[in-house]
Symmetry: C2
Subunit: 403 residues, 2 copies
């Protein structure tokens, strides 16, 4: 099958989430992603998990999630021989991706200029928390910290409780998509004009851009959002927008003519609230009044009534419930791949559809150095050169492949 | 200044958030984005706002946020003359973007096949809530509803309170970035292989992909996340990960050696918790114990102590506080543009940096039909043809330009 990016080779020095999700998205489109890891431990995400459990007893769900469609080469970045090997590989590479703290790659001899000297057409993309200079340059750039700094947390949750971080990574994934946006833009430009360039992406700017409509409102109106004192779903929105209890769960109700909702709930006591100023000003009181009605119905019955009246609504599902959702099943959103040590790994399929070049899963998330010999061979290293690198400790080949 | 996408012309039929954010990102990189709007009201987002206020008294912050770097042409899609004009424009266009409900564009004669007949190299990208077929095809695909269906809301907030939607759009912005990812991939492929194609992006699959590590954990471990009963910041994380009160606000504390935190807080009573199983199993009790200590310090003093010990932490800021943050100022993340009726509009600058082709803001968000004459002229329509379209009502030119 034709893959859109099959002629794009990426040297991927990234770890944790931002860089790996970005290169996985490019790998899903067929890019030749070569993940450069330190021998032994490899990507730090391999050591992190949820619930203190491991897939197949040994593998991190976090790592498995963001590293399919890549091959791993284990190289000691501090070894001059490894550096020489990487620079030789860079002659044939199109893109370099990295998300170490600012300055680290340059100090090790892997900065943009180092690569551009070898290959002026290289596209070099760095990810950081807050950019590569300025007062926060030495601060750790972790996802939840950026949620707090960017205004997102202060706008989420209820006024009487703490500001609430999202129950999933957020800044990192947006950062990954901004890397993809920038790298693909630069690849297109290179096709047309023959030039490579340096790209810098940071999590804070990305999460601010994500909240552009909230910022435009706050900056131009000169007032901040205030978290509601109820299940209203956005600090700038009026009732009914929010999550409501049912007899056996929760539903969401978004913007819909309020009159219609009053009819569907058979709740004439709510009719008096049907005024834009009241729906905003008394939103918490209205949320509680609506909730008294919604909790009389089981979710399925309430959803049926509301959908019949074209009210914008939905079920609130857990992840395992979502996996059983009829539309999720119809879309084929859940899939799996075989992994040499973890066995069958359930995961999420590529999210987008391209008629001529569909994204696919062709490779499992690799073991550290699973493809060291194979990759070096493809880049023209002789058997003897490969053995020399491995013997000296500059490179390492995973045990698993030898088995 | 060189712009990476200056030779890419986009006919943009999209409205509200997903499509407009996508085409704005492409416009920031120099694409020639032509926003096709209905005469009169235009994009529905022009009628929606926060706080019941309007920028400059008339303009929607939501619309202003997502529509810079575009020109607007007002055309009545149902008019055969307008359709003929659009198909003539399509001969010279590279990309079509739309996010009407599934089937609408096709019924009106603007489906992928209609454009491909005129221009086989066209790239046609549709956005929807849940894909274009399946059991939810007629359901409204609004952002918060997708948060509920995808498992995100159930994983956010506290166990004793309602599931919490994020205090910002989420699914739509991710959908926009997935459009950009797909369109740029298809443009690159077209450069290499000469073929256009059809792209389909939906919000539900995108938000599931965003939560890939949570899904990999849940699907492979066979257990769902449970919301904490405290300010712990992720349902799968152990203490201290979360938001904590200070004497005058809130701070975030992410993963750090617990021992170091005990020392910094001068809180020997916390030392007994320093065990991975306890930090997860008793996380809510530990959160409360830590909070008793953090609330003794003003935010600035606590941050200084924690950063000195390299604890991963950050301030929790509102949007207007974030605008005053020293790093945000250093990055130049807040900028503005002049708008013909709203005056000076403060907004967020492009989030990414490309050394040779930096994204920039070249145009204000347009009035409905502000560029109808100009755009038709550029596409080779004669003065007489343009007048004919306007006189018949197939097209409209905004008053403002005439002034």
């Amino acid at each position: 099958m034709t893959k859109a990016l099959s002629d794009v080779t990426i040297l991927d020095f990234s770890h944790l989430l931002q860089g790996p999700f970005a290169t996985q998205l490019l790998g899903d489109m067929g890019a030749n992603v070569i993940k450069v890891e330190r021998p032994g431990q490899g990507d730090l995400f391999r050591t992190m998990t949820f619930f203190n459990e491991w897939v197949g007893g040994t593998e991190s769900p976090n790592f498995l999630a963001w590293n399919r469609n890549k091959r791993s080469i284990a190289l000691d970045l501090k070894s001059p021989d490894a550096r020489a090997a990487l620079m030789r590989m860079a002659e044939r590479a199109d893109v370099v991706v990295q998300n170490f703290r600012p300055g680290v790659m340059k100090r090790l001899g892997y900065g943009y200029e180092d690569f551009a000297k070898i290959n002026p057409k290289i596209i070099y993309c760095s990810g950081s928390g807050y950019g590569e200079d300025g007062p926060y340059v030495t601060r750790p750039g972790q996802d939840m910290l950026i949620q707090g700094l960017s205004g997102l947390m202060a706008a989420t949750g209820q006024a009487d409780g703490p500001p609430v971080p999202v129950g999933a990574g957020f800044a990192d994934q947006i950062g990954a998509l901004n890397m993809v946006y920038s790298i693909l833009t630069a690849l297109y430009y290179r096709e047309r004009h023959g030039e490579g360039q340096e790209i810098k992406v940071n999590l804070l700017a990305g999460l601010m851009q994500h909240q552009m409509q909230e910022y435009v409102a706050v900056l131009n109106f000169g007032r901040d959002f205030e978290r509601p004192r109820s299940g209203i779903g956005h600090p700038g929105m009026e009732a009914p927008f929010g999550a409501y209890p049912t007899a056996d769960g929760w539903v969401t109700i978004a913007m819909s003519p309020f009159k219609k909702l009053v009819e569907v709930l058979e709740a004439p006591d709510l009719a008096a609230y049907d005024d834009p100023a009241i729906l905003y000003g008394q939103r918490d009181e209205i949320w509680r009044a609506i909730a008294e009605h919604t909790k009389k119905y089981p979710t399925a019955a309430l959803m049926e009534k509301m959908l019949a009246a074209d009210i914008w609504c939905g079920e609130v599902r857990t992840h395992s419930e979502a996996a059983q959702d009829p539309q999720v099943k119809h879309m084929g959103a859940i899939t799996s791949y075989e992994h040499p040590t973890a066995g069958n790994v359930k995961t999420i399929a590529p999210a987008v559809s391209l008629s001529k070049t569909p994204p696919t899963i062709e490779r499992h998330a690799p073991l550290v150095g699973e493809h060291t010999r194979e990759v070096l061979g493809e880049f023209g290293f002789s058997e003897g050169e490969i053995e020399g690198l491995i013997t000296s400790g500059a490179a390492a080949q995973a045990q698993a492949e030898a088995a």
